[in-house]
Subunit: 316 residues, 2 copies
């Protein structure tokens, strides 16, 4: 037995739930994201006699199992680059978060894998390092090392990515909000959603946006629901991207009429999320969403859930 | 005696101190400002037998005394437009905040006048309405109804102007910080400072800016001094405007080396402010500022003070 293994329980099996996340929280494009309690991926990891990373899929998605082509694998490779190798990991993934839905499916795989592996390693790495590793999964998935799904998935709650280089993550102590998500079953490619953005914005719009971001952060930290609602406004990204999502304007309008505080595109879409102060409102919002997509004749899936304040969770 | 006067003490004299304020708080251009304890204007108001507004200057600045040409007068006119007239005000102003210094001199006059008059009227108007009236003084002074000096002058502390139309002011519960201000005796016209700004900004810079704004608000509300320091960065306005202020880069560099959390241009300049966690650091920062402007051969004035959490203050 090599001393690499010192203090490690080689027979341990770690099981986790890795939550879905909403990035690009309205005015907080690229900087604000939050975790939700449903849906979540289920993952299990253990040391393996085989060196390297073995990935087993326990779902219907047929995602690649070669570690360097799998987002969870890419995250684990980055982690293993910083430890003495000598052992392998066997990772079993049961995805419940549909890839491409815009609620952080790839982030859940990448973040879940490194949090679970870190537990096998007796929590050798802190959360910021885990985010750093998991961002390699995002790079594989979208070509960009973004952290606004990864960070809330690992930290829980609402997280601010003040800066990517250097990485600066701030966990915001926000109140529990109810979240209604609708996933219209259309494809919006992240690359398309990114390519239609303008490279320059009007200073006056940027000022409006940063007023809203400041208001949203203050509203969350001061539990001022009305301020949260007034600040959930995006004058820069949403007007451009929402045209890719049929029914978007109507969902927003009807949700607000139903009492939602506000919401917008989840990540780069196609999912749309709405925040509510209470469950009853969140359920009415769901009803409105369903009604809109039924009329549009578009397959869709909805969730009514709450913000998740713990991030990746260890189970039994 | 007309019932307009019902319940009012016609012999009352209200005396106030109206504090200097720092607008455009680094990354918070147009949206974040804060009040300081020094310098402040001294004002006194009472009902007058003469109708309309009588302004008496008790200082060396020879500011206009015609109400419609005086920022305090313009603010009071806006206020009197919303009450039954029938009485006049006599306002005596002793300005200690030098006009044009960039620390909210016009805002102090305008805000102080309406807060004082409102006390004579038994606090008929709330703070938001007082900001609305006082903004007419800013319009007279700079052509623009901005509130990022007026709001902190009236509310105290750090205030967020989430939106001007409609007016949405959020008082941020920030920790006490020490403030060092240097006023190099040069003239920077607000109109010049505004005209050199670009109308469009890069989206990637805007994202960086709103990450910093979110970080600054979170740092203030969570009393996280290091986060405040990391977030005091302006990638949009300061690089353009700082060229109007000789010595700016050196002041910033030396202040940070001395331990300041950070800072930048106060308002549209020429004053520069730096925030520190303790008084000792704020005093070293002052020494560095003096040394720089002595070497540059520029007359200057410095203040070492603290954030003011109460805004306009009533005195005996």
């Amino acid at each position: 037995m090599n001393n690499i293994y010192k203090g490690l329980d080689l027979d341990r099996i770690v099981k986790i739930h890795a939550p879905a996340t909403v990035a690009n929280m309205v005015c907080g494009f690229d900087i604000l994201g939050f975790a939700v309690n449903e849906p979540y991926d289920e993952m299990q990891i253990r040391f393996s006699d085989k060196s390297g990373i073995t990935i087993i899929n326990d779902d219907e998605y047929n995602l690649p199992t070669e570690p360097e082509k799998n987002v969870a694998g890419a995250a684990l490779i980055a982690m293993m680059d910083e430890i003495e190798t000598g052992f392998g990991f066997e990772l079993t993934i049961k995805k419940n978060i549909k890839p491409g839905s815009g609620v952080g499916s790839s982030a859940a795989s990448a973040a879940g894998a490194v949090v679970a592996a870190n537990r096998l390693l007796n929590d050798r790495f802190d959360k910021e390092n885990l985010v750093r590793f998991a961002m390699n999964g995002e790079k594989l998935a979208s070509g960009v090392k973004h952290a606004d799904n990864i960070a809330p998935c690992i930290y829980g709650g609402v997280t601010l990515i003040r800066s990517i280089f250097p990485l600066d993550i701030v966990a915001l102590n926000a109140p529990t909000l109810f979240v209604t998500i609708v996933h219209p079953q259309i494809e919006v490619k992240t690359s398309d959603a990114r390519s239609i953005l303008k490279h320059k914005v009007l200073l006056k719009d940027a000022i409006k946006q940063w007023g809203n971001i400041a208001g949203l952060v203050a509203g969350l930290l001061q539990s001022d629901y009305e301020l949260i609602g007034r600040s959930l406004e995006d004058v820069i990204i949403e007007p451009v991207r929402s045209i890719l999502i049929p029914g978007f304007d109507l969902v927003k309008q009807k949700s607000k009429e139903a009492g939602a505080l506000g919401g917008g595109i989840s990540g780069s879409g196609p999912s749309i999320f709405m925040l509510s102060k209470d469950e009853a409102t969140a359920l009415v919002v769901e009803k409105e969403m369903k009604s809109i997509y039924e009329k549009l004749g578009l397959d869709h899936h909805t969730y009514v859930t709450t913000m998740n304040h713990h991030g990746v969770q260890f189970v039994s």
